[in-house]
């Protein structure tokens, strides 16, 4: 569900109703993979496998060199993706190359959003010039040269690539103004994470800014598959119960059974990252074919989606 004042103007292909729609029917399965892990082509196959496996929304990680909110699993994926040459511009190309029919969300850290389009000397080789050319905005270019960063250029490019929204783990509500504004301008959603420690005024502030869905953090800590589901999940869900956006629970969901319990606890969807990245990592370690790994990812997705469905029964 988008905020009332979102416009979606400015010639974007993004659909600001897409995320809300994805949660409209059965409980949503929202998987995450780091884009470019372990390489561009394999990564395309894995994301498409997620879609085939029943993903309702896919969170695509644009790797940042200092992923302070990630646990070791996703951090490993980010390192692999960076080493394979992933850049913001390649990320957008990846989004455009993807052949999937579900809404896509970009998960990344704020510095990459902030820097995008700021520097006037991109390296042609990796296609960074594309954006400069595409933007064709003399003023924006001047601003960039003058060192004025900001999220607008990134959001514009994301909208153009067909992304539906953002999750930015190091951007709390207090710092989110400029990005929220740019998202509104280009019709994208901005998802916030509600932590087990989030209470009182902080909840109100986020509720005012959030759109698309709210990411309910199931437990403290960083991302990573766990075998237990924290008691705090229910508490957290209770705190956002009357929010108008769908509630997706993430952090630590590793199998269908957990997915089932989380949905049974009242979640509108489940977010799963590390359990899927584990499959990619295992494939890298064993030197498995991308096809084989993609099949495993699809199977895992089916398991999780089925679990989520059972939770609603």
């Amino acid at each position: 569900m988008s905020r009332p004042d979102a416009t979606g103007a400015v010639g974007t292909v993004a659909n600001d109703e897409a995320l809300a729609a994805a949660f409209a029917g059965e409980p949503a399965f929202v998987p995450y993979l780091a884009v470019g892990d372990p390489d561009y082509e394999s990564s395309l196959a894995y994301v498409e496998a997620l879609a085939r496996g029943g993903a309702d929304v896919i969170e695509l990680g644009l790797p940042f060199s200092e992923p302070i909110a990630e646990g070791p699993t996703i951090q490993g994926a980010i390192v692999r993706a960076l080493e394979a040459g992933m850049t913001p511009e390649r990320f957008f190309a990846f989004v455009e190359d993807l052949d999937v029919d579900v809404p896509l969300v970009c998960m990344t850290y704020y510095n990459l959003i902030y820097q995008y389009g700021r520097h006037s000397a991109p390296d042609g080789e990796d296609g960074d010039t594309e954006y400069e050319a595409a933007a064709g905005d003399e003023d924006a270019e001047y601003e960039a040269a003058a060192g004025e960063g900001g999220p607008r250029a990134f959001v514009e490019r994301a909208a153009e690539a067909g992304l539906s929204g953002f999750v930015v783990p190091d951007l709390p509500a207090e710092e989110a103004g400029p990005l929220r504004e740019a998202c509104d301008e280009f019709g994208l959603d901005l998802i916030f994470i509600v932590a087990p420690t989030t209470r009182g005024e902080r909840l109100d502030r986020m509720r005012e800014l959030v759109s698309g869905y709210v990411y309910v953090q199931a437990r403290l800590g960083t991302t990573g598959a766990r075998t237990d589901v924290s008691d705090r999940t229910e508490e957290s869900l209770a705190r956002v119960a009357d929010w108008e956006v769908p509630k997706a629970v993430g952090f630590g969901i590793a199998d269908g059974e957990q997915a089932e319990r989380i949905v049974a606890a009242g979640a509108d969807g489940i977010i799963v990252g590390s359990a899927l990245v584990d499959i990619v990592a295992e494939g890298v370690e064993n030197g498995d074919d991308a096809d084989v790994v993609a099949d495993r990812i699809e199977a895992k997705a089916r398991e999780l989606k089925a679990g989520a469905r059972r939770g609603r029964e």
Partner: protein, 409 residues
């Protein structure tokens, strides 16, 4: 939490309540001295830490440079560097807040050892995150932490240096934030850390300002301090900020070159104020060493303690305003200055500190008649590096190292 365009709180939501709690505690205990916090802090800084540290006239440098040179001797603080001012302040604050565990990151190990010492002194369990590569480069400091009862957690991600250790400590904090305090080691990170760390370190310049007036009857023309993250710098400058006639020089590590290698993601320097761009790292908007995508570069300096890709947001703002002059000195000049202070004054400085003295030498004619330089720490920790790096170069004033061809062992 804002210093001009810099500062802020760019951290995971889970940490925000802890930052709010910390901001509240900082306001009450540190700024308003609730429960006599400041008395206890200063009593412990004096008795345990060894404050006040002296302001010493450097007789031979004064003669050499034809300028009155005074040294603020933070190398004499317990632990061997200014780091304890902050570590003791934060661990004590954590105690007042009812926290029961301390975590910290460390690069060269100076902040880690200071935190471990402060935690042992105050009876707080303590875990220090340190990159595996840094552990191998700084084993004596690792051992000092362990000897003080701290748990040392090796960080194996990335290159295994400070940057990764900070990220890892933030991860721990994200999981344990309710009963754990994260002692950030410099004037970096999300608000209120940059202000709070500066406030704890401001004791350096508050003492120095009074001491220099007592000894010379006047304020200095210039204050020089080396700058990595900036805690020594801000601590050395704070009391002089309002004295418009006192020039403030933040001397960063020029490393081997001010150029960058974007392809390799490496900036062979840590001259963030001089060459960095605005961005967001480790919780704050500030100046950074980054590639054009916004990925953080690996910085470099012969001095591990300056080897950081960011800088304190307040220092970045002061440099933008022109109140602070950003300067830098390369590895060679820092080593030369290290040997100069050692042989001429009988003070073996930290390699970090040596950068400030390298600048003093380069600009001796322009800094005025009375200069205060902060000796941010002692150089015992750097002996191994100095032997190796001196052997590689032609340093005219270095002693003969032949006794040490096999290193320190």
């Amino acid at each position: 939490g804002r210093f001009g365009r810099y500062g802020g709180q760019y951290v995971p939501e889970a940490l925000m309540p802890a930052l709010e709690e910390l901001e509240d505690a900082y306001g009450r205990y540190v700024l308003e001295n609730e429960d006599g916090f400041l008395e206890e802090f200063h009593r412990r800084l004096d008795d345990f830490g060894g404050r006040p540290t002296p302001l010493q006239r450097a007789d031979r440098l004064s003669e050499r440079y034809d300028t009155e040179v005074y040294l603020k001797r933070e190398d004499l603080l317990h632990g061997g560097a200014h780091k304890l001012n902050n570590a003791l302040g934060q661990v004590l604050l954590a105690k007042y807040m009812g926290k029961d565990r301390i975590i910290a990151e460390t690069g060269a190990g100076q902040h880690g050892t200071a935190t471990a010492m402060a935690a042992a002194h105050l009876g707080m369990p303590c875990t220090i995150y340190m990159g595996e590569r840094d552990i191998n480069r700084q084993r004596p400091n690792v051992f000092r932490m362990k000897i003080n009862g701290a748990e040392v957690q090796p960080v194996t991600t990335g290159r295994g240096t400070l940057k990764e250790a900070i990220s890892e400590t933030m991860r721990d904090w994200a999981a344990t934030v309710e009963d754990t305090h994260y002692v950030i080691g410099s004037v970096v990170g999300p608000h209120p850390f940059p202000s709070m760390v500066r406030e704890f370190q401001a004791v350096i310049s508050r003492e120095a300002r009074a001491q220099v007036q007592e000894k010379t009857g006047r304020l200095p023309d210039a204050v020089l301090a080396c700058a990595g993250g900036g805690s020594n710098t801000m601590g050395s400058f704070e009391a002089f900020i309002g004295d418009d006639d006192v020039d403030l020089y933040a001397v960063e590590a020029g490393g081997s070159s001010l150029s960058v290698d974007e392809e390799a993601g490496v900036a062979p320097n840590s001259a963030t104020l001089s060459t960095g761009g605005e961005g967001v790292l480790h919780g704050a908007r500030t100046k950074l060493l980054q590639d054009h995508h916004g990925q953080i570069m690996e910085s470099h300096s012969v001095s591990a303690g300056l080897d950081y890709a960011g800088v304190g947001p307040e220092l970045a703002a002061l440099a933008d305003e022109g109140r602070v002059t950003a300067a830098n000195v390369d590895d060679d000049a820092a080593l030369e200055a290290f040997h100069r202070l050692s042989t001429d004054e009988g003070i073996i400085p930290a390699l970090e500190t040596a950068h400030a003295f390298g600048y003093l030498k380069q600009r001796q004619d322009e800094l005025g008649d009375l200069v205060v330089v902060t000796v941010s720490g002692r150089g015992d920790k750097d002996l191994e590096t100095v032997i190796e790096e001196t052997e590689k170069r032609e340093i005219g004033n270095a002693p003969d190292m032949s006794l040490f061809s096999g290193g320190l062992r």
